[in-house]
Subunit: 351 residues, 2 copies
Amino acid sequence: VAEKITIALDAMGGDKAPEIIIGGADLARERHSNTRYIFFGDEPTIKPCMDQYPKLSAISEICHTETIVASSDKPSAALRAGRKSSMGLSIKAVHDGLAAGVVSAGNTGALMALSKIILGMIPGIIRPAIASILPTKRGESVMLDLGANTQCNVEHLVQFAIMGEVFARTAMGVLKPKVGLLNIGIEDLKGTESIRQAAAILKRMASDESNLPIQFHGFVEGFDVPYGTVDVVVTDGFSGNVCLKTVEGTAKLYSAFIKESFKHSFWAKLGFLFARPAFNRLRQRADPRRYNGALFLGVNGVSVKSHGGTDAYGFATAVGLTADMIAYGFVDKVREEIEQISHLIFSKSVT
Amino acid sequence: VAEKITIALDAMGGDKAPEIIIGGADLARERHSNTRYIFFGDEPTIKPCMDQYPKLSAISEICHTETIVASSDKPSAALRAGRKSSMGLSIKAVHDGLAAGVVSAGNTGALMALSKIILGMIPGIIRPAIASILPTKRGESVMLDLGANTQCNVEHLVQFAIMGEVFARTAMGVLKPKVGLLNIGIEDLKGTESIRQAAAILKRMASDESNLPIQFHGFVEGFDVPYGTVDVVVTDGFSGNVCLKTVEGTAKLYSAFIKESFKHSFWAKLGFLFARPAFNRLRQRADPRRYNGALFLGVNGVSVKSHGGTDAYGFATAVGLTADMIAYGFVDKVREEIEQISHLIFSKSVT
């Protein structure tokens, strides 16, 4: 019998809270039968909505909270006032062992700051990274960091590689994930000093038989991200953020181009009619709701950010990711691997 | 009567030299009637090909050179041995005033290194930047730097903004180009210290009536690049390179997705038949040959890199860009504007 997994949900975060939080949890409950939920937020608001989902109600409890973190709050303000909020208390539930993970569709900066301060970091991890799964030609990849750290040194990058690899191997179910470092070319001399040093360390890890199961592919370039050349794309938070948003923007642009193209003539319109099912398949494949969920890797607990504007279907994806990270013991695995490689990162031959 | 413009061409650079260099120049000649050409390279190879284009031959001369820069040569090797090569001598022709600009489809690193050393820099410009025009939803934008400088400080970014703005206003014909700084969010606090300082300087330039005609839009994000929110996207060479290659990769991926979608059923195949003209229009719109040409902005002369694998049509685009930069006096305009703003960049309030 699979163990029950309890997930804490910030019922007040996001544009359409608590409706999509509750509706999303109900969808997730169907897909992940071993989950149960604690909703943090304003009980008088949550209760009536909850009553519409009797099966969800049966496996959930509501924990009343008085305040919420506003979407406009700065992280610093959230740190001062947010500990008693629906967001802060849902994170605290993970710290206290009442839940094994937390999902919020609220303010990203606040969720990151509160997660770091309440959960702390996985021992040995210097900086948390934001990661996300993205659709590629070959299937799916995970990319990190997506904006938590605008500048990264060699240690940060190596740790991101390990966390990304563990995530792909556990939550994504990739047997031997290939790890790539994002760079501006594949030659050894390309990129910054930090990237070249990180590549040297990852190469040593990959070749050392007694060590981690990491498969280091080497450098990858911008076009490798949508193609899916590697399972794990490692980069600093600036390039990662730019790259992810560029993929999303270009995909949208292409959809718009296609729609426009089909308006040009009667024959084109007719063609569109016949081709509509094909287009719907394409749209489904790149549906952002299927990839909803930014993962705060490195904090000492599972903390996941849902897009604030998503619907119940999208929120359920984020909850599902959380359940998978918990089920496969992501945090423990990262802790173990970081211990194993500390001698490689701090060895003298690198500095 | 428009003045004649002489362009030096490295006839030996690129995968299909000299055929596409000569064929491309012939196409460019048709579009830009005031151009004439000097071809640098192995005369016995060039001459027979040239004879197939009598109109081009009539306005061209061939300058025999003995050596070529190989595509695998490191920039350092090119600097030692490349001055007497077809590439080096075509650049020297610009320095000596025999030509007003140079185009090569050869080794990028070598072309950049030789251009810097032979032409020098525009007075006041610290670092050259690689720029390129890209198609957007709104039309076209120029982005820089695309890889010449992996790390940039505030002065580099401000100078790139000025060069990009002048390029958009002259060679691209945009009346009041909007300039944006690539960042990971639009809030004032986002990004690195250099980016925030550069934004502060550009804001002052834009508001100072006595000053430059710069229209500073503020920060832009990854999705703004394919959308075309601004005419000039300014960033460091690392993010710019990643962003450009991501746009290209995602566009290719989408084309592949579309093709795949249309193979799923008889009706989809029929739809494709009707929609083919629409698709061809789409393909034309994003045709990389229409955007061929990486501009080395900041070197004291017009030096343009064509993609090595392009065809005559694509090479003609690069030659056309070169002609436009010359005709609108790009280098002189940058020199004037850099002089005007030196007090803003070096003022104490910034550092």
